[in-house]
Symmetry: C2
Subunit: 591 residues, 2 copies
């Protein structure tokens, strides 16, 4: 077998006359009257190989055979070729290809493997459904966007690990076969054969273990690790996902934020050559909700929500005044909104109704001021005040939602993302901070906004039992271009305080001991102050690439039904396997 001496992306004009061997896949071939051109492709690029243009100096029989083999090649055949680097003739150079100025004049060829009929055109994988692409993921990998994504993901890993190692962090592996951590989602369970009737859980995050590492004196820990959540899958969720997990001792929120800003700055610089400014912008949770209706605003969109509850409360427009008395009335101006026709507004109304709103009011700034079916309910003075608050110009439209704080926020966030035009190739990271420690569950009881190990803000501990919803936490999220790319907090390091929080969360002592007694016990053996962070690597890498779906940056993702069309997993298993682990599948129809 001929063994490659160079790859398919590296030869240049300066390599002229070198004898080289290349190996890879035929990614295009054409026969120009006895002269055969092959585009040979590997991970690094493409190189043109020519058969029969010039005399090889081979015996005639061998030369004939060479051309015959070249003629038999088809796309995705695997070959190795020995030849001489030549400059391409004037007028046939390809500026788009790094190797576009040279070609290989073939002297010898090994046909290594053939290729069956392809299930789709590798140059246009988008033309087939995602299930087909996932089934033949390895074919999609050979070229195009997916290959670039995987290469970038690799550089991201290297850059990330080197940053944290250089900053004194050590990488420690936490267990995969473990006990569930109570992070809100369902665990994947793993039956134990050696301990019949018992189950491991796959980790939703290494949260408890990284806290144990801090208690164990590992001052700075990091890990890039798979985590698992058995959720009903939404567009951008996968049952297994990659997390960049870290934790530090003897630090506060500022230390972590500063370090992570340096990290993000460094990884963007090294991996995609983008220079980010630090420090990042910061928004409190309540300010983000007020101005953007969400705690993960896309700051590339300059639009902001304006509150007009005060104006609305005195309005003769009943929808506004009644909402103002028990909720809020807020609006969002879309500038230069001529393309938002009445039919667009009607369609949008239906969409925001599915988010819980009763309706969508709007006013359009025309030649002579605000116009709308509802302007008749407003005095000229009121309209002027509205126009002034929103700073409207001719062509602008204002959308209003009158409802509860929550519905208004969700709808205006939706409108902002729908009609706002984010600048491309711009990265706008920010911190969201000052989260409440608790939010209300369906029954109105406190439930953790992040997780039950999050520390309340210093000085607010005494409010815990009296006014739990007034207590802020030491949690912080990092948001980039409208996606939450990570979150973290300072943790509770006092066993007494941790027990108080469990009590407020209505976690009984018995349940606390059963679920995470080992953490409570560990806290009693000299826990240092500590805190940390976790990035969603799939989302972060997708953001860097400007890609929406995390499936596009995961080597072997599953469908939204948590299914792998490639391997056919999950699959049936033999009854003997179930016998060994002592479980039975329940027939729901009979049960």
């Amino acid at each position: 077998m001929l063994k490659p001496t160079v790859n398919c992306g590296e030869l240049r004009v300066t390599d002229k006359d070198r004898e080289v061997v290349l190996a890879g896949w035929v990614s295009g071939w054409r026969d120009h009257g006895g002269v055969v051109f092959i585009d040979l492709r590997d991970f690094h690029g493409k190189t043109q190989v020519v058969f029969g243009r010039e005399k090889t100096g081979l015996p005639e029989k061998d030369e004939k055979e060479l051309i015959e083999i070249a003629n038999s090649l088809r796309n995705e055949y695997v070959i190795a070729v020995k030849g001489i680097v030549n400059l391409r003739p004037e007028g046939t150079r390809n500026d788009k290809l790094p190797t576009g100025e040279i070609e290989i004049s073939a002297r010898q060829i090994n046909l290594i493997n053939e290729c069956a009929e392809l299930p789709f055109d590798l140059k246009n994988p988008d033309k087939v459904g995602e299930e087909t692409r996932l089934k033949y993921r390895y074919l999609e990998m050979r070229s195009g966007k997916l290959k670039e994504s995987l290469a970038l993901r690799h550089r991201f890993f290297q850059s990330t690990r080197n940053f944290f190692a250089d900053n004194g962090f050590i990488e420690v592996e936490t267990p995969f076969l473990t006990r569930s951590t109570p992070e809100g989602a369902r665990d994947f369970l793993v039956p134990s054969r050696i301990n019949p009737g018992k189950f491991y859980a796959l980790p939703q995050s290494p949260q408890l273990f990284k806290q144990l590492l801090m208690i164990g004196g590992i001052g700075k820990y990091f890990q890039i690790v798979k985590c698992f959540r058995d959720e009903d899958l939404r567009q951008d969720r996968q049952p297994e996902f990659t997390q960049l997990d870290l934790e530090m001792s003897f630090i506060d929120e500022e230390d972590i934020k500063k370090l992570l800003e340096r990290y993000i700055q460094s990884v963007f610089r090294e991996v995609i050559g983008v220079e980010l400014e630090i420090p990042f912008k910061r928004l409190s949770y309540s300010e983000a909700m007020d101005r953007y209706g969400t705690d993960k605003p896309d700051l590339r969109i300059p639009l902001e929500i304006i509150n007009i509850t005060d104006l609305a409360s005195n309005s003769s427009f009943k929808v506004f005044s009644s909402a103002a008395s028990c909720g809020v009335v807020k609006g969002l101006k879309i500038p230069d909104a001529d393309e938002i026709s009445l039919s667009v507004i009607n369609k949008t109304t239906e969409e925001i109704q599915s988010l819980g709103a009763k309706g969508l009011a709007w006013m359009r700034h025309k030649k002579d001021g605000l116009h709308s079916p509802i302007t008749k309910f407003f005095s000229e003075e009121e309209l002027k005040e509205i126009s002034s608050r929103f700073d409207t110009r001719r062509g602008d439209i204002i959308f209003f939602i009158a409802d509860t704080e929550q519905v208004v926020g969700a709808c205006l966030d939706y409108l902002r993302r729908t009609f706002g035009k984010p600048s491309e190739n711009v990265f706008m990271p920010l911190w969201i901070e000052d989260y409440p420690l608790f939010e209300k569950d369906d029954a109105g009881n406190p439930t953790p906004m992040h997780h039950p190990f999050t520390s309340p803000r210093s000085g607010e501990e005494e409010l815990l039992e009296k006014e739990p919803f007034a207590v802020k936490s030491k949690a912080y999220d990092m948001v980039l271009n409208g996606a939450e790319i990570g979150g973290g907090s300072i943790r509770i390091h006092s066993p007494v305080l941790q027990n108080r929080v469990f009590k407020i969360l209505n976690i009984t002592e018995e349940k606390a001991r059963q679920k995470f007694g080992f953490l409570l016990q560990a806290l009693s053996f000299g826990a240092p102050p500590h805190g940390g962070f976790a990035f969603g690597v799939d989302r972060l890498v997708a953001c860097m690439l400007g890609i929406n779906s995390i499936r596009e940056v995961i080597p072997f993702p599953k469908t939204r039904r948590a299914y792998s069309p490639l391997t056919g997993s999950p699959s049936d298993v033999d009854k003997e396997q179930l016998d060994e682990i002592g479980i039975r599948i329940v027939d729901f129809k009979k049960d």
Copy 2:
């Protein structure tokens, strides 16, 4: 809270007079008549802190309070201290400690957390059982050997990833929730909730995925990844373990061996400062079995097995002659064996009987030649020949085993490891190669010596059906100091050849399609020649540290019963959780 400005391992004489803050754990305290000494410890080391030896310049009340707090400290309390770096008085310096020439004269202290009564003395964790140590693993981490192991493991990871990245490999993550790969051990199964009655399997290795990556054109892949095997646990096995996995295209065995020799040389140099010579020694499988009785010989032990079947076949010692006719007779010389008394021999006899041998013959070289209860069966000439073959000197003993090749090998390997004295702090890596492609299963049928994707040696394909056991494979293992630290092979890249091998292995077409149809299909779409390797990271790191048990180098290992005393996993789960995934635990008593 005082925040540390330096760590507990970095201050030196040159830091004299600096004001610093340190934080950590009290790892020792003593009161010398009003002067309190504290050893303060963190991940980086220990520093001595002194209270009350010299005037602090503080108001008397504050100084009194400082001493009071210092007096209240106990081991493993968490504190932060501000103070001045002083040189220790002559005669009190500690040469063993890198910070042993200085101490901190404390000006201010924060008592951050107390510590409950410890379950064991952190300075002597070995004094309690392993279950207790694993239950409080975080305490064991604070000092001593475990901390060093974890720090080394981190350096190993960094060095390894940088080596492979520098050599053009890219890191690609393969799935954890997947379909079982048939690697001989049981799979851990994960019930799917979204696809009721179906199961994922946790990967025993990324074998099939890395082959798909090669077919996908990712020319060089590596990953450090957790793998899972549901085995009955032996001394040195864990249900989850860490693998360094890699694969390359368009290469042969030599390319992989050369690369991995450079890798091992580089990682030993960078991580433990040991210089290994390359190329490594190579032994064929059959030569290793002949000379050492095992395919993972510890070459630090110079002893080798000597075959005397030819001599034995004519011996009047029936045990030898009859074994020689249907098996082999081999021996091992232990030099300077005076301490191997008759009672040691008797005990050893019992041990090798448990390995299947019927008995243990021996001869001792005394002043006037070989002596033994069996020498009477041998002529003087025969004894001379034996002495000459084994090159015996006064004080040596020869052990003989007469049995099948397999039993003889196993017993002499055992004797070699029992009585051979490996040199310490020496590393003797070697390659084992030329493995047979198949071995016989219990029924005498071919079963893969490695796995069914291993390529037969070039030119031996035509023997596959006719003489399967004569075919050698392109597999190779790396052995270090008696442990198999990794293995790999060139894989089959022809779908036709892969189907032939399945057929020989009695894997029906249907079963092949069902189990790994996706691999067979992928092979048909233009698979390049490829091969790879996988290192057992836990074992390799343990070898580097000269530690026998891999549990000592795993942050959170399980016991031999696959149980975590720390988290109490595997554990019972709620019936609701089982309902959701549609399974029931079978009550074996009723079933």
